[in-house]
């Protein structure tokens, strides 16, 4: 450990150290497991990413008591992919590792390289042709920082848009206002295939949804405040708050995003509603775009956590969410 000038050294640290120690320790074991012989390469594979880890961290580590449920992203993505006729291979974490985005941007290049080499081997072994991810950071990392020659890396919204996902007419027909936060990783930072139009077009396909834009959007969209899961403090929370205030001024019903990091930190601030006075609360739901789209489909409702603001049909009906102690 070298001594660094405090001004340029790691003045900010990682607020979820246990999770990242666990994630980093994955890279120590890089023995490729014996996958049973794959005769035919999988056409479609879905990589959920670290969302289950986030979920556990956010739910059980007492760092955040919020209602955000990342597992819904997984359920919704699979449901949506099935709705457009895709039965993906699930690249879950029993034999894949974290994609390494956070480790790369936290300066742990060696950890990232081990994870990248391991994951690349697994993906090549399975003969995957289309790798679908529901995470903006995973999309960027697989597309730019990995060298997956011959593997088509897609974000789930791109696949849904291209396969022509359509929604049944809404049952209640009540008009809703929806806004979308562009994640930095899948938009501005992508020199190829940035995802601007696909989520917006999918939202427009929902009949009763009106898409409104935040104060800054597309390439100018302001960051949600936290990247690579580092330094959660009042300053970064202020950025998140300013972004959520923009949505509040627009009087929207849903604030959507395509990045679990944005969802985590929006959800964290949203959770603080419970201690705010009545007039300062955010009245909209903050959910992932896959969750929003899956709710609009027919079939059983996705979501295994009923505590995600129970009065979801009309967030403005009651001021205080149920379950707030």
């Amino acid at each position: 450990m070298i001594a660094l000038d405090p001004e340029y050294g790691p003045a900010r640290t990682i607020p979820h150290p246990v999770m990242f120690r666990v994630l980093d320790s994955e890279s120590d074991e890089t023995t490729v497991p014996k996958v049973f012989p794959v005769e035919k390469g999988a056409e479609w594979a879905y990589y959920p990413g670290c969302i289950d880890y986030y979920d556990q961290e956010m739910q059980f580590s007492h760092l955040n008591y919020g209602d955000t449920d990342h597992g819904i992203i997984f359920d919704s993505s699979v449901k949506l992919l099935k709705a457009v006729g895709i039965e993906p291979v699930i690249l879950d974490r029993s034999f894949m590792k974290c994609c390494g985005h956070d480790q790369l941007w936290q300066g742990k290049l060696d950890v990232f390289q081990k994870m990248r080499d391991y994951n690349t081997k697994i993906i090549k072994t399975l003969g995957i042709k289309n790798l679908v991810t529901s995470c903006a950071e995973g999309y960027r990392t697989f597309k730019l920082d990995y060298r997956l020659d011959g593997v088509n890396v897609r974000h789930v919204t791109q696949v849904l848009y291209e396969r022509g996902l359509r929604f049944p007419p809404p049952k209640d027909g009540k008009a809703i206002r929806v806004t979308y936060q562009d994640p930095c990783r899948s938009c501005r930072q992508m020199p190829v295939d940035p995802i601007y139009e696909e989520p917006r077009e999918l939202i427009r396909r929902v009949e009763n949804a009106e898409l409104v834009e935040l104060k800054t959007f597309r390439a100018d969209a302001q960051c949600c405040g936290v990247a690579q899961m580092m330094y959660c403090n009042d300053k970064t929370k202020g950025l998140t708050a300013s972004r959520m205030d923009e949505a509040k001024e627009l009087d929207v019903d849903y604030l959507l995003t395509a990045c679990p990091k944005c969802l985590t930190h929006f959800g964290c601030l949203h959770h603080e509603n419970r201690w705010k006075p009545e007039e300062e609360r955010y009245r909209y739901r903050v959910i992932d775009i896959t969750h929003f789209l899956a709710e609009r489909l027919e079939g059983e409702t996705v979501g295994r956590a009923p505590s995600v603001i129970p009065q979801a049909q009309d967030p403005r009906a009651k001021g205080r969410p149920q379950g707030a102690e």
Binding site: L4, P10, A11, W105, K108, C184, G225, V226, K235, L239
Partner: protein
């Protein structure tokens, strides 16, 4: 409907003094700087006239003495001053161009012979492009590295072409000193090396901007390999014995001869080396390719030295004809592998090694500071001036390395397209390699 972002852009930035309302080379509202024509041209003409007046006055008032008369019995070595050697060389080269004689519509006989081409080559070909350049190239980019085509053509033509044509001006002396060098070889050197210099310069400059030059490398190095291979076969077939009238097929039977052995060895070395360069460029990954090429270059160098020493001193001390053959085709056998090597290294150089060069493009417009979300909330960043510039200068700007969100808002507005987050990525990984990442680089259980 006017979007909020449009209102902000128009209202806040674009009406302010110094912020343009149009962008691109066709903008008419504001032209920074002073155009060359006519302002600079008028001023330069005045200076030229004053200098001419001084020279005319001096030559009239103080006429220099002329030296002794030339001795007609001695053949002089005719050569102009060094800065006009190129024109002398081009005059000598003019007879390679075809003589065209025709009658124009007015009935005049036009004779485009060597004298005509010599005149055309010496002045219009070299100087007219320079005179026309301000009118042809209307771009505002003055940095050579940002204008790859102009720079590559300039380097290839005005350095490569003029240097080798100057060299050809002394061809009689060269042929006198080294009789085994062919005059045709010198002529080809006026054509081939400048083209190669142009391509290599273009590849190198484009690589500065992180462009992927894979196919350029494969094409250039592959063609170099092909030419070396063909010329080797040609040299084998006609060889140093062309005067004896032996047919090429019979010649192949003499490969074991005392004369042909050194030639065989040198050709095989050069062909193998070019082939390794081509193979590494086309089929290996970048890092592996660099290792292979480096090893091959070192081995080739020592192999050539040992072979030359061995054939000259130990094995066949009197085999001059083989060396003569190699010298005849030296521009292929030496210059082409060398060109392939230079192109390979220019085309595969690690972009990060030039990253500070890209940051150095910053001209401190401060747009990045305006959009940076961190400077909006960090107390110590409120008085900051400029994100990219200050970071490059390693001055405190309130956004130290570990506070950046890497959201790339700065790159989105940067007029020079500086990717600040790439710089952050690189710097953090440097620190992380020393065990000082965000959490100290320690892992669970350590």
């Amino acid at each position: 409907m006017t979007l909020p972002m449009q209102t902000m852009k128009e209202g806040v930035y674009e009406e302010r003094p110094g912020f343009p309302t149009q962008y691109g080379p066709d903008r008419t509202d504001y032209q920074p700087g002073v155009p060359f024509w006519p302002h600079e041209a008028y001023r330069d003409l005045v200076i030229v006239f004053v200098l001419m007046a001084i020279l005319l006055f001096l030559s009239a008032a103080y006429t220099p003495e002329v030296g002794p008369a030339a001795n007609p019995a001695i053949q002089p070595f005719i050569v102009p001053d060094w800065y006009l050697l190129f024109s002398w060389g081009l005059l000598k080269l003019a007879d390679v161009l075809p003589t065209i004689v025709f009658t124009d519509p007015l009935g005049n006989l036009i004779n485009m012979d060597a004298a005509f081409w010599g005149n055309m080559l010496t002045f219009p070909l070299v100087l007219v492009p320079l005179l026309l350049l301000p009118f042809i190239d209307r771009g505002r980019e003055t940095r050579p590295a940002k204008a790859p085509v102009r720079t590559a053509v300039g380097v290839g033509f005005y350095l490569g072409f003029l240097f080798f044509s100057s060299l050809y001006a002394t061809n009689d002396r060269i042929l006198q000193s080294w009789p085994f060098i062919a005059d045709d070889a010198l002529k080809w050197m006026v054509i081939i090396p400048p083209i190669l210099i142009t391509f290599a310069t273009y590849v190198g400059i484009r690589r500065l901007g992180f462009r992927d030059m894979y196919w350029w490398n494969v094409l250039l190095i592959g063609s170099a390999f092909a030419v070396v291979l063909l010329m080797s076969l040609w040299a084998f077939a006609l060889g140093p014995w062309a005067a004896d009238g032996m047919s090429p097929i019979d010649r192949l039977g003499t490969l074991g001869d005392q004369n042909a052995w050194p030639l065989t060895v040198f050709m095989v070395i050069v062909i193998l080396y070019s082939a390794v360069l081509f193979y590494a460029t086309a089929f290996l990954k970048e890092r592996k390719a660099k290792e292979v090429v480096l090893a091959a270059s070192v081995i080739t160098f020592f192999a050539v030295v040992i072979a030359a020493k061995g054939f000259a001193d130990w094995i066949f001390p009197a085999t001059f004809s083989a060396l003569k053959t190699i010298a005849l085709y030296s521009n292929y056998f030496i210059a082409l592998p060398l060109f392939a090597l230079v192109t390979f290294y220019l085309g595969t150089r690690t972009p990060y090694s030039t990253y500070e060069y890209l940051l150095n493009e910053c001209y401190q417009c401060g747009k990045c500071h305006t959009v940076c979300p961190v400077t909006k909330v960090e107390d110590d960043a409120l008085g900051g001036l400029n994100l990219v510039y200050n970071t490059f200068k390693k001055q405190h700007d309130g956004v130290p390395l570990w506070t950046c969100l890497a959201c790339d808002a700065c790159s989105a507005v940067c007029p020079l397209d500086i990717k600040y987050s790439d710089y952050i990525l690189e710097e953090r990984s440097k620190v992380g390699a020393q065990g000082a990442a965000a959490d100290g680089g320690r892992r669970y259980g350590e």
